[in-house]
């Protein structure tokens, strides 16, 4: 079982979280072209090793998180809030 250290709730089982997706996508503006959107939503790297991905603490604090996880070992290197303002709050509280 993967255990994720939520910056707000502490370390919890992954069953409390929902997987989001690739956290490195820069979604284009809403008026961007079909081509740009196609790139953003259909093309994914199949990374072997650490990748940044989003997880939602859906059965916890409801925070969306960026999790740096190894696709090989499930090792988690870092967890932080997606929202930059929340990132600052977490940093200041440390």
């Amino acid at each position: 079982m993967i255990r994720i250290n939520c910056p707000y709730c502490g370390e919890r089982d992954h069953s409390e979280f929902s997987y989001g997706g690739d956290a490195t996508i820069n979604y284009p503006s809403l008026d961007a072209s079909e081509k740009e959107w196609t790139e953003a939503i259909f093309f994914r790297k199949n990374i072997k090793g650490f990748q940044f991905e989003t997880w939602h603490h859906s059965n916890g604090c409801r925070m969306w998180l960026v999790v740096e996880r190894s696709t090989v070992t499930h090792e988690i290197k870092s967890v932080k809030p997606c929202h930059p303002d929340l990132q600052k709050v977490v940093k200041n509280n440390k």
Binding site: I2, G20, D31, S33, E34, T38, I41, H56, T73, D85
Partner: protein
């Protein structure tokens, strides 16, 4: 029948006699016995019939590796098949029986299979019944399906009771610094060392007693160890198996709480499924003794050497009188000595010629000898032995038992669960655990240590390793070297005697013979994983704990390779079988999944509602009057709504409060239609798309104030929409100042629909002026009060096409609201209506719900193109225009009538052209109902090209599942009041 129990041996409690039944006869045993030891004591040799050949089978082992003594315990709804007699503790009143035999294991009619062996060789079923791929797939498969039920009956083990399980099971959780698996000398040393270093320790033991293999020693007493462990505050869990290791040092345990008790207390679970989150894991799971493959090596009376030692010293059972031990290593000699001291006549055949061993000469040692054939069928009569260099008929020994030791396999299973491949050790002829970066340390004989002092040293080293890895200490340590016998082991897996047609078993559990492995090789199934699947070697209850290495060695020999070059199969959880009951825990019956009810749930039931599950929600389905069927009821309800007024609980809709200065901009981005011009006090129906341009959900949003909205979603998508909004705000649009809060539980909602709905509401609100057509026009919203000073929100929204209102109050006022509305609705001959009538009303209007918006449908497909704004960009606006979503042959929403109006149809019907009824056709019917207004059945669904293409053509509805077919007329989905005059009234 003479007992095999002998005096002055064993740790059983001879003062406590237990009665039990085996195959319908009464027997006695002692407290401390297992079923296997009690059967052996009672001189019962045959305890099962083998999987394919129905050969008589006895007890092979004294532990979890058992593949012969699989029996059925209990009766009726507590019947438990395939239980290992070797691990089943005896209790007073235990009822057990042999399996896979008719009429019983002693005389089994299917024993004939033994002589038809060639028909049951590996791959026989596939080849004979499933056709020779790829030419005969279709034909062969049909034959297989015909024969399968007979084959399954002939080849199989015990059968389940088929009755509901009367026992309860629990899920439990715990945390610790260190979990130690196995209470042998290594595990205990590790646990003590860790507890002394102030770690919080759990010690797990699958046996009922701690001690591990020391329990087979005649002078072992575990009481001191137990005291010491307890005094150190170590949590000892006996009768508990660590069945799997998972990520992040999570360990799965199965605790058998009452399996050793006849009539369990109903307040205690039968088993507990533990999830332990540890910081470090130490595995001292021991090693498992292997047998040797040779002709008839499965005759009852064959056993591992170590098992015989257990039965002697733990249970006081001498398993044979004239015993031959066949070995290739030093581990058997202590046992040989003890067996002969206990009164048996013992001969040791050692395949090695050149070795030194100290003995008191109480038994004979035949150096350089191996067994090659057992004579006998239901019991051992004699053993043919030979010089090990060339197997030739030379000598026959009279005996009643053959004990085997082909070496020891460290139990590396748990480490294998983590994907760590073991490495082959030539010196010890076994797989040893490899190192891992994870916090797991292997100790004791699981790392190939054969003597006790080495095991203890490894336990202490293991804990030092754990402390170092946890950053608590930085101490040097070393593990003793694998091995520990005086003379090296000589690999011996099979004794091949070609001049016989007898069977030589590799894996007893599935009757896999040496010939099966050779057959697999001849037919090209040479990779370990193919070998396993073709022969079923290493499958079923024991998962090849004894036979795997023998199978590998045979394949290595055939390929002229070394064992590590052939590979090893990956062990996966569970280590020993885990019951489905334990996996499901308390999540059974009503608790299978969460149940959601609306705040007026009881009110609905009290007023005659029949309920239906929608997602997790219980919703009113219909409100039958006396003798009414479902269809009587919903037709009456729907007609009443169209005629006067009806009331329907709509609380299950998702409700989200959207607040903050960016709210309007936010809604404008997520909905396909415009929200920027929505005035305060108005609601709007909106459609949300996914990024890829497909419809996600629909609902309404009400502008309550400049920067405050109340959003409703469909029942099924409520959670998804909420997560989606949070994702957008927290990851993409972090500059938008908007807060979203789920308020689904906080508000109770009801729809009041029908021409008399305003009159009903007039009587219920404090100030009837607020709901006049002027003050509250179509899609108007107001926050006001119901009588009794109950704050409420009212929106003039219609799903039925009639004049209608949605009224929301705080959940606590739900019943008061229902009483008030119902009292007044009755005055107008109104009704309560449920989901079925709601469905009928919306199908008549061509409104889409989850049945239509199934994740494949675009706005255009749903006939809602007008809802796609051209003045702004929104989520999905670019992608909805991509070519594939704009094809001419997209399936478009339409209505369907049966051409013959007296006919009916069902949702799921495939729509086809008249002379082309096949495959997926050109469309599908998604929702149907009887239309009270039109007087016949109607449906909505999708057809390629839509109404324009087919309005003058008769199509065919094919419903092969229900064996139905009907002609269809394609119509507009808006079948009633297409201009919506009623809603605006």
């Amino acid at each position: 029948m003479k007992t095999r129990r002998i005096d002055n041996y064993g740790k059983i409690n001879r003062d406590k006699i237990l009665s039990f039944r085996w195959d319908k006869k009464n027997y006695k045993g002692f407290e401390g016995d297992t079923l296997a030891s009690a059967l052996l004591a009672n001189n019962i040799g045959i305890v099962g019939r083998s999987f394919k050949y129905h050969r008589p089978r006895g007890i092979f082992s004294s532990g979890v590796e058992e593949s012969g003594a699989l029996v059925t315990i209990g009766s009726k709804d507590r019947r438990d098949p395939n239980v290992r007699a070797t691990t089943q503790e005896l209790y007073n009143g235990l009822e057990a029986s042999g399996q896979n035999a008719f009429p019983n294991v002693n005389f089994d009619l299917a024993g004939i299979n033994n002589y038809l062996g060639r028909f049951f060789a590996a791959g026989f079923y596939y080849k004979t019944f499933m056709g020779i791929p790829p030419l005969e797939w279709g034909k062969g498969t049909a034959i297989w399906m015909f024969f399968e039920k007979f084959i399954r009956k002939a080849a199989g083990m015990g059968s389940a009771s088929g009755l509901p399980d009367p026992d309860t099971y629990e899920h439990a959780h715990d945390f610790c610094d260190l979990i130690v698996v196995g209470s042998g000398p290594a595990g205990v040393a590790a646990a003590i060392e860790a507890a002394e270093k102030k770690l919080d320790v759990i010690l797990v033991e699958q046996d009922s007693l701690i001690g591990g293999n020391q329990l087979a020693e005649n002078d072992f007493d575990n009481s001191q160890i137990k005291n010491q462990l307890e005094n150190l505050g170590i949590k000892i869990m006996t009768r508990t198996t660590a069945f799997g290791l998972y990520d992040n040092c999570v360990v799965g345990l199965l605790e058998r709480v009452t399996d050793h008790i006849l009539a369990p207390n109903v307040n205690i679970p039968r088993q507990r499924f533990w999830t332990i989150r540890a910081k470090h894991i130490i595995v001292g799971a021991g090693a498992i003794e292997r047998h040797i493959a040779f002709n008839n090596n499965d005759i009852p009376g064959v056993m591992t050497v170590n098992a015989s030692k257990h039965y002697l010293n733990r249970y006081g059972v001498l398993t044979g009188k004239r015993i031959v031990i066949a070995t290739n290593n030093d581990s058997v000699y202590e046992t040989a000595h003890q067996l002969s001291e206990a009164g048996a006549n013992v001969t040791v055949l050692d395949s090695r010629t050149n070795f030194e061993i100290e003995t008191n000469k109480s038994f004979e040692i035949r150096k350089g000898y191996v067994p090659y054939n057992i004579n006998g069928s239901k019991k051992i009569d004699s053993l043919d032995i030979s010089k090990s260099e060339t197997i030739n008929k030379s000598e026959t020994i009279d005996c009643d038992q053959v004990l085997l030791s082909g070496g020891w396999s460290p139990a590396v299973h748990l480490l294998s669960h983590r994907g760590v491949k073991p490495k082959w050790d030539y010196n010890n002829a076994c797989f040893l655990p490899s190192d891992t970066k994870e916090n797991i340390t292997m100790v004791g004989s699981s790392r190939g240590l054969w003597n006790k002092n080495d095991c203890i040293a490894s336990g202490i080293a293991g804990t030092t390793d754990a402390l170092n890895r946890l950053g608590i200490s930085k101490t040097n340590y070393f593990f003793p070297k694998p091995g520990g016998w005086k003379n090296p082991i000589q690999p011996l897996y099979e004794v091949k005697y070609k001049k016989s047609r007898s069977k030589s078993f590799v894996d007893f559990q599935h009757d896999v013979t040496t010939d099966d492995v050779r057959l697999a090789h001849r037919e090209g199934f040479i990779s370990v994983e193919h070998l396993k699947r073709y022969t079923t070697l290493g499958m079923a209850n024991d998962q090849g704990k004894m036979g795997n290495i023998i199978g590998l060695s045979l394949m290595a020999e055939l390929l002229n390779k070394e064992i590590p070059e052939v590979g090893t199969t990956v062990f996966r959880p569970p280590y020993t079988p885990v019951s489905i009951g334990a996996l499901s825990g308390r999540n059974v019956g009503k608790h299978f999944r969460p149940l959601r009810v609306t705040p007026m749930h009881q009110w609905n039931i009290d007023h005659g509602a029949k309920m239906i599950e929608v997602g997790l929600y219980q919703r009113p389905w219909y409100y039958p009057k006396e003798n009414e069927t479902l269809s009587d009821s919903y037709i009456r309800e729907a007609s009443t709504v169209r005629k006067t007024v009806g009331i329907c609980d709509v609380t299950s809709l998702g409700k989200i409060a959207i607040q903050g200065p960016g709210s309007t901009e936010f809604l404008d981005r997520i909905y396909s239609n415009g929200f920027s011009k929505l005035q305060v006090g108005k609601a709007r129906y909106g459609i949300m798309l996914r990024d890829d341009g497909i419809v996600m959900d629909d609902g309404t949003s009400w502008r309550l104030a400049e920067n405050e909205y109340f959003m409703t979603t469909s029942t099924g998508e409520a959670a998804k929409v909420m997560s989606w909004l949070e994702e957008l705000l927290q990851t993409r649009w972090t500059d938008l100042n908007v807060n979203v809060t789920s308020v689904s539980e906080q508000w109770a909602g009801v729809s009041v629909a029908g021409p008399k709905s305003r009159e009903v509401l007039n009587n219920c609100v404090d100030d009837s002026l607020v709901i006049t057509n002027n003050k509250l026009p179509f899609m108007g919203v107001t926050s006001t009060f119901l009588k009794g000073n109950i704050p409420c929100r009212i929106a003039r929204i219609s799903f039925s096409g009639e004049l209608a209102f949605e009224v929301y109050v705080k959940s606590d006022f739900a019943n008061t609201m229902m009483d008030l509305l119902w009292e007044n609705a009755k005055k107008y001959d109104g009704c309560l209506y449920g989901l079925e009538a709601l469905g009928a009303l919306r199908v008549e209007k061509g409104h889409v719900t989850a049945a239509e918006l199934d994740g494949r449908v675009t706005i255009d497909d749903a006939g809602l193109s007008k809802m796609a704004s051209t003045k702004k960009s929104y989520i999905g606006s670019a992608m909805r225009k991509r070519g594939v979503l704009k094809n001419d042959d997209r399936e478009i929403l339409v209505g369907f009538f049966p051409t013959n109006l007296k006919e009916t149809f069902n949702a799921g019907t495939i729509v086809c052209e008249k002379n082309n009824i096949k495959g997926q056709g050109i469309g599908r019917i998604t929702s149907v109902t009887y239309s009270p207004e039109l007087g016949h059945w109607i449906g909505i669904g999708f057809v390629k090209g839509g109404l324009d293409k087919w309005k003058d053509t008769t199509l065919v509805g094919a419903d092969p599942v229900r064996n139905k077919q009907m002609n269809l007329k394609v119509v507009s989905p808006h079948m009633i009041d297409p201009k919506g005059e009623r809603m605006y009234a």
